[in-house]
Amino acid sequence: MDVAEMKASIKEIITNITNLDPEEIGDADSFTQDLDLDSLSLLEIGVDVDYEFKLGLPEEEMRGIDSVNETVALVTKTLNEKNATAEVA
């Protein structure tokens, strides 16, 4: 999956949770400051992103993620680590 697809997927998750149109979600927009999302929405985004990409991440790693870009970075990193582990195994 390339970055553009990943962003689109993440934005769709955010849309489902916030009713914002994908066009309204800037890649660098802060979830808390710019999009004004509350803690429950952030938690739900974290759960759905994890579910979508099968990340299996511990809670703490999802906390603090505050933009689409940061989410993409975390997802990419996690998937890469999983692939690396898979290759070694």
Binding site: I17, L20, L40, E44, V47, D50
Partner: protein, 454 residues
Amino acid sequence: MSRPDSTGGRGRRPVVVTGAGVVSPLADSPAELFAALCRGEGALGPVEGFSVAELSSDGGSEGNGSGPIPDLAAELRGFDPKAYLGKKNFRPLDRTGRLATVAADLALADSGWDAEARRQREVGLVLGTMFGSVHTISAFDRRALTAGPNYAKPMDFANSVINAAAGQTAIWHDLRGVNTTLSGGTTAGLQALGYAADLVAGGRAGAVLAGGADELCLESFLGFGRAGWLAGTGYGTGNGTGNGGGAAEPRPVPLDARRNGFVPGEGAGLLMLETAEGAEARGARVLARVLGYGSTFDPSRGADDASAVSAVARAAALALEEAGLDAADVDCLSLSASGSRDGDSREARGLAVVFGDRLAELPAMAIKAHLGESLGASGAYQALAALGVFAEGRLPGVRGLEATDDGLTVPSLDSAERPVAARTCLATALDFDGGAVALVLAAPATAEVASGGA
């Protein structure tokens, strides 16, 4: 003795209705809903939101499965919260929450309680519901079951508590007064109205939205079907005795001799209740007065026929007593009859205890003929129908009614609308589970003494 201008309420503050909002399968305003009822429109049709065929196809591991459940409900199609609530994010609200929030939006506008007024004073909310949302709690659990607890959706959990819709509505509309949810089956909406009227009459609240909401969903649809309560699913007795397995042609017609169960509906309706004094002080127009309320219970939970009938009779008597009215002062009835074989009969017989021979002359409407069994919303629909009669002097017919049971004394019923001059209305409900409630509503008080009544 006619006392149509009674203030009711055991000498406490008179309670009035200053506005209402409704979102229903037939219409999204009280006036349009009443017009549709009078035209004899019905909302019954195949379900679009889920596949009934898939729900009822499984014979069960022991071969005692549902058998086919008729694909029939009074569904609110094309419900678009955005059209009412605008662009703000209503995604955290589930369907029941959206229905309630929209009904509140309409009721607040209709009664003139704008955002600034709500900022300055605490407006309350009392919501009657059977499930809140059984769909939301079920979906939450299914996701956790299939994907593991870490993937359970937090927003669904927030909506799995039965008071979620009331909480969401209060957040949306800044309703900081008393916020109560009352749970019941068919009785919840009327019970909410009675509870709210008591708060206002007792000086505990100045303005309260009251009514109910429930949604149509596969979980409750299947549950009613498996119990054999739905029209055409076996016995339609409402006693949970199980679906006889043989589907008959569904006939969800209140009090009809060939009725065989109800059809599930959905929606939300809220009425703004205030003190008469408060309404006058702010120049609000009054749609009706709430004169009395009664709540009773059948300890046999429907197993004993006489006990069930007694619960209805006692609730009606208590409501009339509180209203300061005699049976002769009641001009029309708003029944909760839904097509349930036992339920409809028991309601009628309970009313016969109170009204005696006069029952046969008392005009009655049964809105579930048009709107199905909408649980929490039903009580609001029943009350709104009464308001319509007061305003327009005509009474909706019972859609599809042909003959009634031999030997059963029923109110004066017609399948078509007719002119009826009514200044008082008694609304009743008997629950699946033994609860019975009655509410007495009256047209706005006038300076002239009415000449009607004995």
